[in-house]
Amino acid sequence: MVLENFRRGLEVTGLGMGLVFLTLVVIMLAIYLLNRILRDRSAEWAAPLVDAAGATEEAVPTSADEVAAIAVAIALQKQQEQEGGDYDEEVVGEVVMVASIEPGTGAWRGHGRLRAMQ
């Protein structure tokens, strides 16, 4: 019984590792293909615009802008403080993230949500 199980296990191992490699090789090739085909067409899939309801799920630009502006100000001040320190990409990325301020429960935002559920 043990040997029978082991024999079965060998089959499972062979077929299993084979299938895992097969699947991932296919995925690898698919990524290469996607990267090749879609490199130039990325502009076509532009970032989502403000939707028809005038409401986005994301931050409200105005307030976000304000906050972002402030964030930049802080970042710049810090940079000065650090006297030309290693001011890297990270900072920019984080400034962007400030935008995820929740706009509150304003009416139009509510409508934006609402519309998506009816």
Binding site: V2, N5, F6, R8, G9, L10, E11, V12, T13, L15, G16, M17, L19, V20, F21, L22, T23, L24, V25, V26, I27, M28, A30, I31, Y32, L34, N35, L38, R39, R41, S42, E44, W45, A47, P48, E57, E58, R113, A116
Partner: protein, 371 residues
């Protein structure tokens, strides 16, 4: 009051066998590991609580209509909870590094050998083939996949297998380094891999989860639920137009399901199923699985290094498992410790995320071959 009622009243004490006491101790240890050592606290703490509750005599919580049974039927029996957890994981995972370096996908495949190697060893230890496969799946280094597979092939072993999987995932920073160092030369570990940011188009990021779903599901249909939910979560993340679902997946759904997943898994750890020699074997086999994962990954990394003319650092193979991002960080640290100018992190991330996908595929393949 009839004697019957009195007897029933004392069931809490009369039914309190030493085995149940031991199991409560096990639950306590899990809670201690969660709080004091911070080993996967979100899972091990509820598991510990579930374990304690399940071993109190006479509560009726495991019987039809009892709380723990209701939760088990609602989420483990039908594999709903592991699937939903995967929606959250998909929404939290950035596959960008992998899309920039597709060749590392292969490292994730190699590192799944731990599953099958452990399966083979387990058959020699007199486990039947389904049990052996369930034990091997600890090597997926992936909680939901372990629960998903074990609950089909060997429901009795779900408890110890899940606990082993989560525990060793916490121990990745301790388990992997010696294996990695043992199997690589210092020269290999010193290989530097410059990282150049290659922009990945939004279309690629959006199509990636769909393509992965199709590839995996066609080759391993039994993996469709898990990979489908993982990639649904990732699509939701990358789509950018369904932020409400994205947030729900990462927060509401993930938090609620995680809470109940742990308690429910813990509730399967009842004394008469857990207190066997088998359990100790499973715990040991789990460690073997993680070691074999790491070894197979590193060896395959050496092969890639050889074929690429020494441009690939073999350490990357070691993080082709699903324990993300701990494993990638282990590789970064080892490389960095040897050479302060060596930054392997982004490459390691690619390998590590490919391990995420590969582990699910492996789980599906095992189910397809044995279920």
């Amino acid at each position: 009051m009839e004697p019957l009622a009195l007897e029933r009243l004392l069931i809490g004490f009369s039914g309190l066998t030493w085995q149940r006491l031991v199991m409560m101790g096990v639950g306590g240890i899990l809670i201690w590991l969660a709080i004091k050592r911070e080993y996967e606290p979100l899972l091990l703490l509820p598991i510990g609580v579930g374990c304690i509750l399940a071993n109190i005599p006479g509560t009726g919580m495991l019987e039809e209509g009892g709380l723990l049974k209701v939760l088990y039927d609602a989420g483990i029996e039908n594999e709903l909870f592991p699937s939903l957890v995967f929606v959250g994981i998909g929404a939290m995972t950035d596959f960008g590094p992998l899309l920039e370096n597709p060749k590392y996908v292969l490292l994730g495949a190699a590192a799944q050998f731990g599953i099958f190697g452990t399966l083979l060893i387990a058959t020699l230890l007199k486990f039947d083939i389904n049990q052996a496969a369930s034990i091997g799946i600890i090597g997926a280094a992936d909680g939901p996949t372990s629960i998903f597979v074990a609950s089909v092939l060997a429901p009795d072993l779900v408890g110890p297998i899940t606990v082993a999987a989560y525990s060793y995932m916490s121990l990745v920073p301790i388990i992997q380094p010696p294996v990695m160092k043992l199997l690589t030369t210092r020269k290999e570990r010193l290989i530097r891999m410059p990282y150049t940011l290659r922009p990945v188009s939004r279309a690629t990021r959006i199509l990636f989860p769909i393509v992965v779903t199709l590839c995996c599901s066609l080759i391993a249909p039994k993996a469709a639920a898990l990979i489908g939910m993982l990639m649904f979560g990732n699509l939701v993340r990358e789509a950018g137009v369904v932020e409400r679902i994205n947030q729900a997946a990462q927060n509401e759904i993930a938090n609620i399901v995680t809470t109940f997943l742990g308690i429910t898994i813990g509730s399967t750890m009842v004394a008469d199923r857990f207190l066997r020699w088998q359990t100790i074997l499973i715990i040991v086999m789990g460690l073997v699985a993680f070691v074999l994962d790491t070894a197979a990954g590193v060896l395959f990394g050496k092969l890639m290094s050889l074929l690429s003319g020494g441009k690939v650092n073999p350490l990357l193979g070691g993080c082709g498992i699903s324990a993300f991002p701990m494993s990638a960080r282990v590789v970064q640290k080892i490389g960095h410790d040897e050479d302060y100018g060596n930054f392997l992190l982004m490459h390691a991330m690619a390998s590590n995320t490919s391990g995420q996908i590969a582990s699910v595929v492996a789980g599906g393949v095992v189910l397809a071959l044995l279920a």
